[in-house]
């Protein structure tokens, strides 16, 4: 599994590449996606947790990595993240287990990174 920095670097580079393509539909989708996680009637933390759990049941490792970083930036504890991942495990079944393993590893990497970058400001 690649490191958090490699994940972030590729994500940033390709987002720029995609938005520079000039396709209006894609550009608007990116904006709409960002907006879905901004506090509205539900607060930002709850919205982000929904992003994490839905990404897990759809088994997208990159999406899970992104939402774990965001959830930790927003102050979720490990135990809270485990509760959310547990719902995803029950809903999605054992087919999510390899992704659950990688999610736990990502949580550990984030906690390790917080020793030198407490807010994970260098990511995303």
């Amino acid at each position: 599994m690649e490191g958090l920095e490699e994940f972030n670097e590729f994500r940033t580079k390709m987002n720029k590449r995609i938005l520079d393509s000039g396709h209006m539909g894609v550009k608007r989708f990116w904006a709409l996606d960002d907006r879905a996680y901004i506090s509205n009637h539900l607060d930002e933390k709850t919205l982000e947790l929904l992003g994490l759990a839905t990404s897990m049941v759809l088994r997208c490792d990159d999406c899970v990595t992104y939402h774990i970083i965001r959830c930790i930036q927003l102050g979720f504890t490990d135990d809270e993240l485990y509760d959310a991942l547990n719902v995803a495990l029950i809903v999605g079944g054992s087919i999510t287990i390899p992704h659950i393993r990688r999610a736990f590893e990502t949580i550990d990497k984030c906690r390790n990174k917080q020793k030198t970058d407490p807010q994970l400001k260098s990511l995303l």
Copy 2:
């Protein structure tokens, strides 16, 4: 689309039928499923909302109906449910739209039923 009562009746009848089959694996899964939505490090409302959003991206109408009823029993407002469904719509794409339509109809049916049964006690 069937009514809330028909949904509830079939669900209750078949759950009994399945648990009466005597299969220990299935029985334990049912218990584990119930337990995943009981307050732990995350509160009950957040866990239920995770159930709703994950069910929507996996496009299971019956699961969505169940979690909408539960969410309304727990006191979520329509606007809060729309926020959660909006995350699911962005994550899961337009393929969720027919299920979003049925989810809105289910919300309306629940609100209508609350006129005579405010806690939706006759359901689930």
Copy 3:
């Protein structure tokens, strides 16, 4: 399987209900979805066919019904639709077969409706 008119009526009613909810995210998604099928570098017919094939591999009957109606409004022949459904069948496998059956029935219903409404103007 419900008729084309029932499909259309429920779709129209619930779209109005959803857009009247006032949720900006959902409203913008609906607009973005419409726009994705308007001629750009690819023409409208090709875009619509992509909508049909992607809906089939994701096995969404309502989405398939919608795109079949649109494809027929745009002038596709049955043989062309079969070619597109065949790609979806190969890509998505035998699990799509029940949806393929319903898609063929929908094509037949549309052709039958064209006897009195050649442009399917009463639908969508």
Copy 4:
């Protein structure tokens, strides 16, 4: 849920309709699909059970109904079918539960039909 006879009638009618369409790709897929369940290095019963479990994790009710009928024609007991459905439930998660409910109902309908048609010869 429709009855076994209605399921069978629609399936038979639309299979004929599809094969009569003259599309060679679709026709060959249908033949290849039939062949995958004929005894080879694995026996017919095992192959059919694989069809049932894969259909369940992909959550296709019609496919599940078809394979339950076939499995019962081949002599599987209820307890054996529950074991297979239990694997699918663990692998696929709680999102399969509504389909598990309908599968148990289908098993019961088949057992009931066997009182007058022990080999389920009138189906498929």
Copy 5:
């Protein structure tokens, strides 16, 4: 992400390995798969684009890479590919975004390779 050459090499090696296994069902599926993209009532370019869009909504990176190479061999422009990917993004939602990123990178790799191999003859 591996290079186009590594992708092609592994694909070629394993296709040979699989076809040499002597399993008739698998062999016939491979043939049927090839045939689905040969001009029939729809032309080859449209069929290939259907392959690309369906692969994207099902989120299979290798399948997307294959169809991008084929689409570029058949003469699609970048803007046309973006339109097709945009439909897949809308249909499939933000869960496709990591795959969209890798698809754009694959397009760039193909364009770069075309500087020395304009028809991408060394691939597939």
Copy 6:
């Protein structure tokens, strides 16, 4: 593709990490998952093969690798595994092909490892 040893090492390490997290729901799911493949009314070999085929149609490479190792430990021949993978290929479609390629490679790696470790005792 990583080797069998790397797969096994990461799996073992992260399973320990996850079970050490102290989350009861996750811990019970792990136990229930193990139990689903223990002989009951169906024998262990059949249950394991169901695990393989369901993992393939859901396209989880790690799950497929795990079940191939287990199936080979239980004595399945290559031809029997090909029959099971062929059902998964038909049910799941060409989107499974990249996973089928990796499954064949995993079978070959297991057979190679059996030269020095006939029971694959060093794995799982």
